[in-house]
């Protein structure tokens, strides 16, 4: 599904990723853990195509396609979704309108028929219900005036509507209380299945109590320094990152 080979990237001339190798097979959920400044967010931005993140080496294949050669919107159309660490406010843009525009853009790019307002609302309302969100979520402007928890839940709502093949969750758990954390986890778990692959980026182990990963990778100084099963997360929780930074 996702094959990252020797990926290096820099921001403003400073090298942040220093040769990442990572393969995520279809249908698996992998967690990437690491201390602050280890390159976790940079990895998510590089994979989703944000400008200002310069790829200095390596390749990324997404379903066999050269991901790095694609525009951000083409990556979205191919099925890549990034749940932002800090979701962006779009003043005056209604949530429903935004999601319908996005869904239809993606459908158009895939050669699928666009949805009209009624068809879309059916899907959106079902997703709102599934995520136990208030109905006015669709009417509000995108993330404007949302609490931290609401913003993260809104990311899960968008994910539920766009149904990506690969979701990258960038510290989706940061700033969440335990109830919100559970809702986010349920959002991810509801998608889990043979056609859903996820890269869960987190600093803490607690999210992984709710989204149990198939594999855990430790990122330090821009490299994957250790990989293991879900038990690795617990080990990290007990011992901290100190030893890994040295290993890198």
């Amino acid at each position: 599904m996702l094959e990252i080979r020797n990926l290096s990237a820099s921001v403003d001339g400073a090298a942040i990723l220093n040769g990442i190798d990572l393969a995520v097979p279809r249908g698996e959920v992998h967690a990437i853990m690491g201390p602050n400044g280890s390159g976790k967010s940079t990895l998510s931005y590089v994979l989703s195509g944000r400008e200002d993140y310069e790829v200095t080496g390596g390749t990324v294949l997404f379903e066999g396609r050269d991901l790095l050669a694609m525009e951000p919107e083409a990556r979205a159309a191919a099925g890549l979704f990034l749940a932002f660490q800090y979701p962006v406010e779009l003043p005056g843009v209604g949530n429903a309108n935004f999601m319908r525009t996005a869904l239809n853009a993606v459908r158009r790019a895939r050669g699928e028929e666009e949805l009209d307002a009624v068809q879309f609302l059916k899907i959106a309302r079902a997703a709102v219900k599934q995520l136990a969100m208030p109905d006015d979520m669709l009417k509000r402007n995108v993330n404007v005036g949302f609490s931290g928890g609401e913003k993260k839940r809104n990311e899960m709502l968008q994910m539920a509507i766009l149904k990506p093949k690969l979701a990258i969750l960038d510290e989706t758990d940061s700033g969440l209380d335990i109830d919100a954390l559970k809702i986010v986890a349920e959002g991810v778990n509801a998608q889990r299945g043979p056609d859903f692959t996820a890269l869960v980026i987190t600093h803490y182990q607690r999210l992984l109590d709710h989204i149990v990963p198939d594999r855990v990778h430790v990122l330090a100084n821009g490299r994957i320094v250790r990989s293991g099963g879900p038990e690795l997360a617990h080990e990290l929780e007990a011992r901290g990152y100190a030893g890994f930074a040295d290993a890198a």
């Binding site: 525009e71 951000p72 919107e73 962006v88 779009l90 935004f98 525009t101 996005a102």
Partner: protein, 495 residues
């Protein structure tokens, strides 16, 4: 076409007579020679068979205009306009009514098609006999095709309600007392340089009268279109809403691509009597010139509404995306006690466009209130200025104004300017002004693109969000058109 034009000009230069039939576009056109003098004004008046008082009025305006100088206080810059190098009269040749669309000039139908006018409506516009039947969409259209109204629709439904909606040239003959009473009563002939020019040479425009207590049964709309080369456009619109009446008027403009600058100096006058309401909506997308700013329309317009009556209300809503230069301040004179003025505006400038637009709210009556919401969007190398005046006169106790001016910048080569003038001469008046300037942030664009939107769709979405407070004031069918227009106007402005 250049050969034809050259020939036409040669013929004109060889003849000393004041008037010549000419062929400008492929549509037969009745074209006066270039230049402005008393003779041309007399010709216009004569061609329209006007009464003596109107000719006198025109000549007075012309005399005033000759003593005036073109104003240059706006931020707009443009080469000097040679007023003697323009045609001041162009009218499509009138033919007896065609029997079916097959008999209608196909060029004219093409124009309607480009304007997106439904087929059946086109038949009515083209004056096909018997086509004036029932319509699914109750929108009355008075098409101003190069200065002269080609046809007027929905006359019957409106007549039943007592509403008069016709070309002003017809109103001069049919309801002369109304025209004489109100023409120039809001915008006097000598009000400003361009209004004086318009008063001297206006060829046509729309006239609306809503009788007492009548709610106009449909939205009224006019399609303006500039089609003749080098023809100054001088429309004159007069709308009168009698006591307790209500009307919504829509104005939309398009223009084909041009090489030379075209002057447009319209005058719109609105009069609202006791308890009357007028809603005037504009979507303006005239040719803005190419990316380097060549060509494009000069839009120097005077629009003013008088809330003469108690509790009357005038609301201006405009979406301005076109023209090389826009110089336009739809205003409200709040004379009647408890009268209300509103101005909702979106002005978009891209490439080398220049817009200097805003409003004037003149509070004269007691407890008058006004609201101004202005959204300026600048992209490319354009300049966008909001210029607004709120004036409270001594008698206007309890006057209130709220002004919100927001500017959105796209890129770093453009300019946004806010120039509010506030003059209050009554201590009980409350005037509020809020202004913001923002940019479309890279993280907003990236967020949208990550969800699958193209860069341009993202800009369109964000701009429409920025303008929402104004767009929601537009009638439904206009709002949809305006949203598309905003996105189209800003194509290629990012990245």
């Amino acid at each position: 076409m250049p050969v034809e034009t050259e020939t036409l000009e040669t013929v004109q230069s060889l003849t000393q007579s004041g008037y010549k039939w000419g062929f400008e576009t492929d549509i037969e056109m009745d074209l006066a020679p270039k230049g402005l003098n008393e003779g041309i004004i007399r010709l216009i008046s004569e061609r329209k068979g006007e009464p003596a008082w109107l000719l006198e009025w025109r000549l007075k305006a012309f005399a005033a205009w000759q003593t005036m100088r073109e104003p240059h206080w706006s931020k707009a810059h443009y080469p000097p306009i040679d007023y003697q190098d323009l045609h001041y009269y162009a009218a499509p040749k009138r033919k007896p009514g065609p029997k079916s669309l097959d008999e209608v000039d196909p060029e004219l139908l093409k124009v309607y098609e480009k304007l997106g006018i439904p087929l059946k409506e086109r038949a009515i516009l083209a004056g096909v006999e018997g086509a004036d039947g029932s319509f699914p969409n109750p929108v009355a259209v008075d098409a101003v095709f190069d200065s002269v109204s080609v046809a007027t629709t929905f006359r019957k439904t409106l007549e039943k309600a007592g509403v008069i909606f016709c070309p002003i040239s017809e109103a001069v003959h049919e309801v002369p007392e109304l025209v004489q009473k109100y023409l120039g009563s809001v915008v006097p002939a000598s009000d400003n340089f361009f209004a004086a020019l318009n008063s001297a040479v206006f060829t046509d425009g729309s006239f609306v009268y809503i009788p007492k207590g009548v709610r106009c049964p449909m939205e009224l709309s006019t399609y303006f279109r500039i089609n003749a080369r080098n023809t100054g456009q001088f429309e004159r619109t007069l709308i009168i809403a009698d006591d307790a009446s209500h009307v919504s008027y829509l104005e939309g403009c398009t223009a084909p691509q041009r090489d030379e600058n075209q002057l447009h100096a319209a005058v719109v006058e609105l009069v609202a009597l006791d308890d009357a309401q007028i809603k005037y909506s504009t979507v303006q997308n005239w040719y803005p010139g190419d990316a380097e700013g060549r060509g494009g329309i000069y839009n120097f317009v005077t629009k003013r509404g008088a809330c003469r009556g108690k509790r009357s209300k005038i609301s201006w809503t405009q979406v301005e995306t076109g023209s090389a230069i826009t110089w336009k301040y739809p205003s409200c004179v709040l004379q009647g006690d408890d009268s209300v003025g509103e101005f909702y505006s979106v002005a978009v400038t891209n490439n080398r466009q220049q817009a200097d637009t805003g409003t004037k709210m003149i509070h004269i009556g007691r407890n008058t209130s006004s609201t101004i919401v202005s959204k300026g969007i600048s992209a490319g190398h354009s300049d966008n200025t909001y210029r607004g005046l709120v004036r409270v006169l001594p008698r206007a106790s309890g006057a209130r104004n709220f002004t919100q001016c927001d500017s959105l910048l796209i890129g770093d080569q453009c300019g946004a300017h806010t120039v509010p003038y506030i003059e209050s001469r009554n201590a009980t008046a409350k005037v509020e002004h809020e202004a913001t300037t923002s940019k479309i942030a890279d993280d907003q664009l990236f967020y949208c693109r990550q969800r699958g939107l193209s860069q341009e769709d993202a800009v369109g979405l964000l701009v429409n969000g920025f303008c929402k407070d104004v767009l929601k004031e537009l009638p439904m069918e206009f709002a949809v058109e305006a949203q598309k227009l905003l996105a189209v106007s800003l194509e290629g402005s990012v990245g």
